[in-house]
């Protein structure tokens, strides 16, 4: 009898050890990737790197100014499209649960969340690139489509968490419905909505696949949004598969900047959610 209990206890301890081992082993790849990118990238980044465009193959020097500016433009434009639509749709979903339109919208959000990014790229190619040619705008629209479900879901979840008494109190004071939404509901859920937006930007800024057939990429500096534009993830992709060492160096630098940006955005979201105590 003693022996049997001992066996069971040992089994339990071994199981715990295995679980702990597997759970923590998974942090190794992340740490290795982070350290490697930092090691390779940090040497590349200097003022010259940030303010110059890439040089032709074989020449040393050059930077990624065009990709930096391009990424900011493309992501900025997609935010302008996706944030209002996403917040409004999120408000609709949380205000009218159970209606038929809300049900189908929820279904569409779920579908959109699962659509592979490359498929979004193809579709936007036919919507916009086919009639108007490659442009930064088409890339922004592709990214906006990827951004929407995250913004909608986070807005909806945050607003559902608000106590209904808030809204009822405002309504009982005779405040019109649209002002209740704008002055009470949205400000109260602001932190949650904001963290959803930041998270969605962090997600789309590293998306490459939808940009392959839309924003295309451009080796020159360009701020014309109706023409092809370079972006950070795309510059990494093209230079990663190129045979030149100089270009690999550029790509390491670009990866470093992209990675830092994504990490900062994520940490920022964490701080916001911790301060306002939101569960996403």
């Amino acid at each position: 009898m003693e022996g049997r209990i001992k066996l069971r206890n040992t089994k339990s301890i071994i199981f715990k050890a295995v679980v702990v081992f597997f759970a923590f082993v998974i942090t190794i790849p992340l740490i290795v990737v982070l350290l490697y990118i930092i090691k390779m990238g940090v040497m590349q980044v200097n003022w010259h790197f940030l303010t110059h465009v890439p040089t032709p193959e074989g020449e040393t020097g050059g930077g990624i100014a065009n990709a930096l500016v391009g990424s900011v433009f493309i992501v900025g434009m997609s935010s302008i499209v996706a944030i209002p639509v996403g917040i409004l749709a999120g408000i609709y979903l949380s205000e009218n649960p159970g209606t038929r339109l809300a049900y189908y919208t929820g279904l569409c959000v779920d579908i959109l969340q699962g659509v592979p990014s490359i498929v979004v790229g193809i579709v936007v190619y036919f919507w916009i690139v086919k009639p108007f040619g490659f442009s930064a705008i088409s890339g922004s629209i592709a990214l906006a489509i990827m951004m929407l479900p995250i913004v909608i879901r986070s807005t909806e979840q945050t607003l559902l968490l608000l106590p209904p008494s808030l809204k009822e109190a405002a309504l009982s004071l005779g405040v019109p419905y649209h002002r209740v939404i704008l002055k009470v509901i949205v400000p109260c859920g602001f932190a949650g909505i904001l963290s959803g937006i930041i998270l969605s930007i962090a997600r789309i800024i590293g998306e490459t696949a939808p940009l392959l057939f839309t924003a295309l990429g451009n080796t020159l500096f360009s701020t014309n949004v109706t023409k092809p534009m370079e972006s950070l993830p795309h510059v990494i992709y093209t230079y990663a598969i190129s045979p030149y060492d100089d270009q690999h160096d550029l790509a390491w630098g670009a990866s470093f900047i992209l990675l830092m940006f994504v990490l900062l955005l994520n940490i920022f979201t964490k701080l916001i959610t911790r301060k306002w105590n939101i569960q996403l």
Binding site: F21, A23, V109, I118, Y237, V262, L263
Partner: protein
């Protein structure tokens, strides 16, 4: 605004279907198991890509399952609060945050040489790039999805159930095996489905690593360690080169298949979760 969303999703579906009509009409259902992909001679068969996609996704899934289960059990049962638990939780979330192109780029320069050495030691052609490397990276990338869902589900197991088992003298392992895991089984399965949906559609890391060949390997070892192509990677590589309507249409049909497969998998996963959390 909600209506805009619905219109755009329906629009995506319609666009894909319309653009792939030429290929559907002329190739029919044979397209899916045609073994040869030869755009120059207008022969299109998607089987190599189906095989590549399934092989990479399921290998990645099998590698990832022990890890995501372990994280879910650790965070959900052994260590639910405290700095260590928070640290691990945030780290796992960061894994999902790193852009896939960065994983691909890193793996191309660090992982591929290691895999190459490994392939030399087991006597297969040491290319380094291929299905195996792609699966390894993919496995890391999809772990957070199943792990996050599993954690929250395991935390939702009612404590009277567990307390009952403890009162009967069960050890921790026995409680987990015969109370927690059976209770959360369908939820954990849903988490794996969501991971699978991610793995199927993942493009950039795979495109960089898989080696890109449309030829069908005949032996299993060749298919497993050799270069291949997934549906997403072939679209990424050949879409811009597609110079005639038929070629383009065949690629879009791949996109259509990918779209429906991921949508169905995600829907099943979501259904299980809602059913589970409302119970």
């Amino acid at each position: 605004m909600s209506a805009i969303l619905i219109v755009s999703v329906v629009g995506i579906m319609i666009t894909l279907i319309i653009q792939s009509i030429p290929s559907i009409q002329s190739l029919g259902i044979k397209y899916l198991w045609g073994k040869v992909w030869d755009p120059v001679n207008n022969v299109y068969g998607a089987f190599p890509f189906l095989q590549g996609t399934l092989l990479t996704s399921f290998t990645a899934l099998i590698i990832s399952i022990p890890f995501s289960y372990a994280i879910a059990i650790y965070l959900g049962e052994y260590n639910t609060k405290g700095w260590l638990s928070n640290l691990l939780k945030n780290t796992v979330e960061l894994i999902a945050a790193v852009p896939s192109i960065i994983y691909g780029f890193w793996a191309l320069f660090v992982l591929v040489p290691i895999v190459r050495k490994f392939e030399v030691s087991i006597h297969v052609v040491p290319l380094g790039v291929g299905v195996f490397s792609a699966s390894l990276v993919l496995a890391v990338m999809i772990i957070p999805y199943a792990a996050a869902l599993g954690t929250s589900l395991i935390r939702m197991v009612p404590s009277p159930l567990k307390e009952g088992a403890y009162a009967l003298g069960a050890t921790r392992f026995e409680v987990i095996r015969s109370v927690v895991l059976p209770y959360t089984r369908s939820g954990l399965f849903a988490g794996i489905l969501l991971s699978l949906g991610r793995a199927l559609g993942e493009t950039m890391a795979v495109t960089v690593l898989i080696g890109n060949t449309s030829a069908l390997a005949h032996k299993f070892l060749e298919a497993f360690f050799g270069p291949g192509n997934t549906m997403a990677s072939v679209i990424a590589n050949e879409f811009q080169e597609a110079d005639h309507a038929m070629y383009l249409s065949a690629l879009i049909e791949l996109g259509l298949v990918l779209f429906f497969v991921t949508v169905i998998i995600n829907m099943i996963g979501k259904k299980i979760i809602t059913k589970y959390t409302n119970k």
